[in-house]
Structure formats: structure tokens, C-alpha cells
């Protein structure tokens, strides 16, 4: 997790599953406390399961409720396919470069 301008960037690598979901959730929580713009950098995520999807949905929901900005930096295609499958994609701001979202 690091700051980029006024935004907090949460970088995740590898897998978001039962084992790691809580850590990502905690990082996002901290990020939202520090900034009103949070980017979840999923560019190096290889796998995401139901637990991981729940984390992204929760972040999207809480940012929508609080009126803050939340974006994900584009994940590999197969992860976006899952976002499509669960109906998350239309509600999600996707950026190609986390730094761009910060400006």
C-alpha cells in the first residue's frame, strides 16, 4: 500500500482467496481512512475467488455509500471475466494506470 498524490494505492499480487482476502480488506479499510480516492491495483493478480470478489464488492459498495472514489487498476482478462459474471463490471471504475486515477 502506498500513496500516489492524494490517492491511496493498494497493490495486490498473486491470489485473493480465503487465505488473503482479510488482509486485502484490512488494507482497503486503512486506505479509505487516509484518502477519499483509493485504487486497488489488480494488475498482478492471478486468481480471485468468491471471497476475493466479496472484498472488491464491499469496497465498491462502501465507496458508493460514502461518496468517495474507488477504482481498480485493470486486472488480467480472466479476472475481469469474473467481474462480468457477477455483474460487478458496470459498477466498477477501471483504470489502466493507478497513477492516472490519482490525478
Amino acid at each position: 500500500m502506498h500513496a500516489e498524490g492524494s490517492a491511496e494505492i493498494v497493490v495486490v499480487r498473486g491470489e485473493i482467496d480465503l487465505a488473503t482476502a482479510d488482509a486485502v480488506r484490512a488494507d482497503l479499510h486503512t486506505a479509505f481512512e487516509r484518502s477519499s480516492t483509493v485504487v486497488l491495483d489488480l494488475r498482478e493478480v492471478e486468481f480471485i475467488d468468491t471471497q476475493g470478489l466479496a472484498v472488491v464488492i464491499e469496497a465498491q459498495q462502501s465507496s458508493a455509500a460514502a461518496g468517495t472514489r474507488f477504482a481498480v487498476a485493470r486486472a488480467p482478462d480472466h479476472v475481469h471475466r469474473l467481474f462480468d459474471m457477477i455483474g460487478l463490471s458496470p459498477r466498477l471504475t477501471v483504470v489502466d494506470d493507478p497513477a492516472a486515477a490519482a490525478s
Binding site: 475467488d49 468468491t50 466479496a54 464488492i57 459498495q61 462480468d84 455483474g87
Partner: protein, 672 residues
């Protein structure tokens, strides 16, 4: 050697200086007296002055002797000059006698003093050695003891040093049994002194000694060093014997308890854990260690047994099978289990065996073990109720248990009891989890007239705390609904949510005619729950259409089901819809497909596609390939399970559920 010289020099300070000076005084008086006499009587006595240095040599120190000798020689010379300047023949001879005698006296005094010093050193060193807390023995090449200090005599069990030195080597060995630290008997070849004589460098050697007469256990460290003779061969071996029994006992308890504690807390399988604890107790604490717990039939079953000899372990197993102990038995383990009091029998007399065991054959078997001393302690749960018994027996080592051993054993029993109780609670919790998990699924799939059904359910991990996959199948007004779902989260909360989702969906589907309404209703119910309640579902509304059927598929955030067509190809059916519980409103799509007789529809959760192999995930393509050519629901799920089994590496990470449905009776189409 320099140190010895210094020590000797320090020791030589005479403890009777008065005698020295008196002797010196008498010698000087003799010199003066004899000289006067010689001067007055002329040439008769001059040689006799040599007596003076002799007196000094016998009683005074070297320096005093030198002084007396010089005085005597000077007197003899002066006397010669006085008397006609050596004119008298023979004066030279007499003077020479006095000088020679003086020189001789000085050497004699020196030798006497050195001898006295050496003697004093020897006496002091011997005194020092005999007062040493460590035992010291010196053996010559024939292995006989040539020296021993008092501590050595006491350590080796002799009333005095003389008795020890008088004992034959065989007698020494026969008083006790000797073992190495690992429990193996100490062989004569391993004796440190013998190894030093054969030219080996031998480090400190720890020996466990059991006194044959008293059964007392002692621990010793022997350090042997060779003493080289003038030719460079090992002439003597000095062995320092340190008794470390107290230290050893003080260490054993915390070490054993720590290791037992680690074993007891590491595993949930208490039977294996108890075996580890029994293994730890052997041989450091006892020759045998056994753990018994009562079973439902009233037999106090042996759950663990340890001995350093595997054959004896086998013997104990066979013995306990042949002569089971019952909770109703008199005395022994049954008694300990009933009243919770530990038992210490330092010496087991044969009469006790006679009285306790009626069967002569059984008695003989027990006699053959040669039990000498025993301890039985209860394993006590936190409530104080004994739940088992740990027995410690000493046999072949001949060791006798002490009160100190009993305390240690009781502590082991307490710790084991608590650990077992925890393990039992864990097992019980697993059972509750398992029961809950079963409750999330229908007790059995219903018989659906005109359809055949098969289900697969693999929770992640053997003792997994309930996961979130579920499936269900039930009748609705105009047909049947089958559903597979996956709730996000783990643990009790997820379990509760899973049960909620399944029942809400079932009720909604039975009340609404349209599965779409049921999905939307469940979404709203989940969304309105406090906190995040997310769930994916895939449901199928089945209706009979003549020989075939019609399947209406609705998916909410769930992977699409596959239809395996009669021709063998597997194709996905339906359209994606949003996950339930995430957003208040949503749009889900109905897809109606024909399910011809012989087609198989397979619903599954992402545990199937997410299963990880050596390099990647199982994925859609492998699933599709595995399902191709499925002949009926059962076959489809068998293919799916086989495909997963071949692919998967490591432990299964997620729950896996699948449901397969076909129009027609089971096996109606026959095998392809």
C-alpha cells in the same frame, strides 16, 4: 611440572622452625666448643668438628647447614693455622675431612629437604583430592585401582577407600547395572578407562547406574585421562567421576514436561499424542510406559504403550488384548480410574503379584517381565474427573521409583488429561461442524418423477469448519427446481447465511411461479441483512415436455451450467446475472433450453473450476472436456470427480458441489 615445583616450594615452609634453629645453634656451639677444646689440647680433636654439619644436616635447613659447614671448615683451618701453621703433619688431612664432611652434609640436607617437600606435597595433594566433591580413581594397566578418594568410594558404594581399593574389578561391576544415555547397556568395551588404555581420546561419558541392591538410579559423568610413563605409554588412567543425579533429576522434570506439553498441544489426534508422551517417558523416566482409557464397554483399553524394545511393545499389546482390564476390576488401573488417586509401589513383591493375579499363566507372563517398581497416575480432566490412567513400570533396569518420580508422573497425567479433553472438544466441534454442514444440504435428494438426479459434495478439508456451498432440489407448482449456490465467507456466520439462503430460496421459489422472482427476492433479503451477505446461485426450473423436458436457467453471479447433449458435446446454458446480496436491484435473465431425453445438465460451484493443479486451475475447458460424453447424471459426476482427482495437487482449498440432472430414469439411456 613447574606448577608442582612452585607448590612444593610453598609447602616447604617448615612448620617447625624452632627445631631447625635449635639444631643450628647446637651445631654452632659444637663448632665453637670443639675448636676451643682442639686449641687447648692441641691436635687431638680438630677432625671431630665435622660432627657439627652432620647435626645441622639431620635437623636444620640447607642454608643453616651451609653456614655450619662453613663455620666448621673455617674453624678447622683457623685451628690448623693457630697450631704451628699446618706444621703438624696430618692437619691437612683433618681439615680435608672437615671440608668434605661439610660439603656432604650440605647435599644431605638438601636431599632431606626435597624429600620432605615431596612428602608434604603428596600429603597435601592427597588431602586435596580426598576432599574433592568429584570422585577420583586411578587405575593401572591391569585395571586395578591404585588410588581412590573418599568421594569415589562413596559414589561407587563402598564404606571406605580401603574397601574400594581392596575390591576386585568384577566385584565393582557386579554391584550395579550400567547404561548409556540412550538406554543401551554399557558394555565393558565402552568403559572409558579401557578405551583410554587402548589409546583412544575419550570425552566425558554419561552413565546411568542402577544399584542392584536398592534399585536406586544415579547418573554419573566419567572423564578419563591417561598418564604417560617415562617411555610415553599410558601407564595409569585417572578417572574423575562426577555424580550428576540431582542435576539430572532437576532437568528431567522440566524437559520431559516441556516436550510432553509440545506433543500434547501439537496434535488433535489424542491417541497419537499419547503415544508420543509414552515414548518420551521411556527410558529416561521408566522402562515401560502405558496409557489406558476406558471405552464404552467398560474395558480399560490400552491406547498407547512404549518400551525401548519393539518386541516388548508387541508383547504388551498382545497381553492387553488377552487379559483386558475392566473398570470393575479390583485395584490397579481400575482403582486409579475410580478414585483418582495415584499409586506408587516402589518395590513389587512377588506376594503382591500372587494376590493380584489369579490366572497362573498370566502371572507367569507378568513375572517374565520382571516388574520391580511401578507408578500409576490418573489423567485428569479440568473438572477433576479421571479419564484415563498412565502407568510407568521399571523392570529390567531394576530402578526403583521415588516420590520425586511420582510427582513428575502426576504432573504428566494432569497435562495429558487437559490435552485430551481439549482434543475431545475439538473432535466434538468437528462433529458439530459436520452435522451443520450436512444440515445445509438436503438429507437426500428427492425422487423427481421423470428425472434422474445425482449430487457431489466435497467440503474442503476433513475437519473443515463448515463452508458455504449448498445444493437443493424441490417440487414447485408446475415442475421442479434444482439449485446450486455458494455463500461468500467461512465459519459459523457463513454457515448461518448458507442455511438462510437455501431456505429463503426454496420458500420463494415455491411461492412464486417464476424462478426469476425467487432470485430477486433472495437478493433483496440478502441485501437487507446487516453486514455483507453475498451469495451466488444457479437455479433450474424443470418441466416435463412429453418424453423430453424444458429447463429454465437463471444465474446470479454463478458459473453457467453445462448441458451435455446426447451427441456428446457439453455446452454452457444460460446468461450471467449479478451476484445476490450486493446491490438492492438487479436484472437477471431466464434462459429456457430443451433438455432432450439423454441430455445431462450439470450445475456446479466454482470449487470445481478453481481447483488448483501443478501449474494452473482446472478451469472451464477442462471441465467441459471432462463432462463430454457423459451418459447419465451419475456418470457425469464421476467423470467430473475423476477429472479433478487426476488434476488436483495439494490440499483442496475450497468446497466443491455439483448437481447433475437428466430427463428419464437412472441409466435409462444405457452406457455408450
Amino acid at each position: 611440572m613447574t606448577n608442582l615445583h612452585a607448590a612444593a616450594a610453598r609447602l616447604s615452609t617448615d612448620h617447625r622452625p624452632g627445631r631447625r634453629w635449635a639444631a643450628t645453634g647446637i651445631a654452632l656451639l659444637a663448632v665453637v666448643g670443639l675448636t676451643v677444646l682442639d686449641a687447648s689440647w692441641d691436635d687431638t680433636l680438630s677432625a671431630t668438628v665435622v660432627v657439627a654439619p652432620f647435626i645441622a644436616a639431620m635437623f636444620a635447613g640447607v642454608r643453616q647447614t651451609v653456614a655450619v659447614a662453613v663455620a666448621a671448615s673455617s674453624s678447622a683451618l683457623l685451628s690448623g693455622i693457630w697450631n704451628d701453621n699446618f706444621g703438624n703433619a696430618g692437619y691437612e688431612v683433618r681439615a680435608a675431612i672437615v671440608v668434605t664432611g661439610g660439603v656432604f652434609s650440605v647435599f644431605a640436607a638438601r636431599t632431606r629437604e626435597q624429600a620432605a617437600r615431596a612428602e608434604a606435597l603428596g600429603a597435601q595433594l592427597t588431602a586435596a583430592l580426598s576432599n574433592l566433591a568429584e570422585g577420583v580413581v586411578v587405575q593401572d594397566r591391569s585395571q586395578r585401582l591404585v588410588y581412590a578418594n573418599e568421594t569415589a568410594a562413596a559414589t561407587l558404594g563402598f564404606p571406605s577407600v580401603a574397601a574400594l581399593l581392596g575390591a576386585a574389578p568384577e566385584e565393582l561391576v557386579s554391584l550395579a547395572d550400567y547404561y548409556n544415555e540412550d538406554g543401551s547397556p554399557l558394555t565393558p568395551e565402552q568403559y572409558p578407562s579401557r578405551r583410554v588404555f587402548s589409546g583412544e581420546e575419550v570425552g566425558p561419558h554419561t552413565v546411568r547406574v542402577i544399584d542392584r541392591a536398592t534399585g536406586e538410579e544415579r547418573w554419573r559423568v566419567n572423564k578419563s585421562r591417561g598418564v604417560l610413563d617415562a617411555r610415553g605409554a599410558t601407564g595409569l588412567v585417572v578417572t574423575v567421576i562426577e555424580d550428576i543425579t540431582e542435576q539430572r533429576r532437576a532437568e528431567l522434570a522440566p524437559r520431559l514436561l516441556a516436550r510432553a506439553g509440545a506433543a500434547l498441544s501439537s496434535s488433535q489426534n489424542y491417541q497419537r499424542t499419547l503415544q508420543e508422551v509414552a515414548d518420551l517417558a521411556v527410558p529416561s523416566l521408566a522402562d515401560w510406559c502405558g496409557v489406558s482409557m476406558p471405552d464404552r464397554s467398560g474395558v480399560i483399553a490400552q491406547v498407547a504403550v512404549a518400551h525401548s524394545d519393539p518386541e516388548k511393545v508387541e508383547f504388551a499389546r498382545r497381553y492387553s488384548e488377552r487379559y483386558p482390564t475392566r473398570t470393575s476390576d479390583e485395584g490397579g488401573s481400575a482403582q486409579v480410574l475410580r478414585d483418582g488417586h495415584s499409586q506408587l509401589i516402589p518395590e513389587i513383591p512377588d506376594a503382591l503379584l500372587e494376590a493380584a493375579v489369579q490366572d497362573p499363566e498370566q502371572r507367569e507372563l507378568l513375572r517374565a517381565i520382571g516388574m520391580r517398581s511401578a507408578i500409576s497416575v490418573p489423567m485428569t480432566a479440568a473438572s477433576g474427573t479421571p479419564i484415563g490412567v498412565i502407568s510407568f513400570v521399571n523392570a529390567e533396569s531394576g530402578r526403583v521409583f521415588t516420590e520425586g518420580d511420582l510427582e513428575l508422573c502426576e504432573e504428566l497425567g494432569r497435562r495429558a488429561g487437559i490435552a485430551i479433553e481439549n482434543a475431545r472438544l475439538y473432535t466434538e466441534r468437528s462433529l458439530i461442524a459436520h452435522t451443520l454442514q450436512r444440515a445445509l444440504l438436503p438429507p437426500a435428494l428427492p425422487e423427481i418423477p421423470g428425472f434422474s438426479l445425482s449430487a457431489l459434495y466435497r467440503p474442503a478439508g476433513e475437519e473443515n469448519w463448515v463452508g458455504g456451498d449448498f445444493y437443493d432440489a424441490f417440487a414447485v407448482r408446475d415442475g421442479w427446481v434444482a439449485v446450486v449456490g455458494d455463500v461468500a465467507g467461512r465459519g459459523a456466520q457463513a454457515a448461518a447465511l448458507t442455511a438462510f439462503a437455501r431456505h429463503v430460496f426454496r420458500t420463494a421459489a415455491q411461492l412464486h411461479d417464476d424462478p426469476l422472482d425467487a432470485v430477486a427476492y433472495l437478493n433483496r433479503q440478502l441485501y437487507d441483512r446487516p453486514g455483507t451477505a453475498l451469495c451466488t446461485v444457479c437455479c433450474v426450473h424443470l418441466r416435463v415436455r412429453g418424453a423430453d423436458a424444458e429447463a429454465t436457467v437463471v444465474c446470479g453471479g454463478h458459473p453457467l451450467p453445462y448441458a451435455v447433449r446426447q451427441a456428446g458435446a457439453a455446452e454452457p446454458v444460460g446468461r450471467w446475472g449479478q451476484m445476490l446480496g450486493a446491490w438492492p436491484h438487479g436484472e437477471w435473465a431466464r434462459t429456457t433450453a430443451a433438455l432432450a431425453a439423454g441430455d445431462v445438465l450439470v450445475l456446479y460451484t466454482d470449487g470445481v473450476t478453481d481447483a488448483s493443479g501443478a501449474e494452473d486451475r482446472f478451469g472451464d475447458e477442462r471441465l467441459q472436456a471432462a463432462l463430454c460424453e457423459s451418459s447419465d447424471p451419475e456418470d457425469a459426476l464421476r467423470r467430473l470427480a475423476d477429472g479433478l482427482a487426476d488434476f488436483e495437487t495439494g490440499e483442496q482449498a475450497d468446497d466443491t458441489a455439483a448437481l447433475a440432472i437428466a430427463r428419464g430414469g437412472r441409466g435409462g439411456r444405457g452406457a455408450r
